[in-house]
Assembly symmetry: C2
């Protein structure tokens, strides 16, 4: 099962690329793509296949029933843990030290093997704390 490089898939990818590291609800995406030349069902099918490929992460926020997606740049985001501000929503990478130490501590204390790409740490960012 190969991935054809269709016009529609490209449209979607372009959109996702310009919103890297953002949390996009399904309806955000559908809305943005409406009228762009890709149908609703193609959006759903592509989102599903991108998710299966691991290029798109599904996020769920407490108290919010919507499904969110976050596009992950494979190169930049490989092995990065994201930290996301619950005030402003901005999401960035945790520094390498944070990742390293967290991974080791979890391994030692809980025998738990962290999946960095799936993990998002919530809290309040530097800017919003002022």
């Amino acid at each position: 099962m190969k991935n054809y490089h269709t016009q529609q898939r490209t449209l979607l990818l372009d959109y996702l690329h310009t919103h890297i590291d953002e949390n996009l609800s399904t309806s955000d995406i559908l809305e943005a793509m409406s009228g762009s030349g890709i149908s609703k069902s193609a959006v759903y099918r592509n989102l599903a296949s991108l998710e299966a490929e691991g290029r798109l992460h599904r996020i769920s926020r407490p108290g919010d029933r919507r499904t969110y997606y976050q596009f992950v740049d494979e190169d930049e985001c490989r092995g990065q843990i994201h930290i996301s501000c619950i005030r402003c929503g901005k999401t960035v990478h945790a520094s390498p030290n944070v990742c390293e130490r967290l991974q080791k501590t979890l391994e030692n204390e809980d025998s738990f093997e962290i999946d960095r790409s799936e993990t998002v740490i919530y809290g309040i960012c530097k800017e919003c704390r002022k």
Copy 2:
């Protein structure tokens, strides 16, 4: 806005109590409660209020579009970081050391103030790694 201790709410709570620490999909719950004397809408309304109260956590698993709930003990979970297995879905508390160190490292490295209750770390649990 108080919470009346209704028969229906009790039915639901009883069910959730007997499945503490399990991941229950909405349909698991609806199915289990069907015919027990509580209507579908009452289930939804109670799930929503329990979630708002923080006694029920919504879980989402990568690659699975269903909504899962996990009933939690409020006192036990206060200020706990959860670690969740992407294989089996089981969610437990990270050990105190993990929490402490993660909090400190994030503070020092990224000036980021973690919100423990909102954060779920994904990975593979001890059992599933075997």
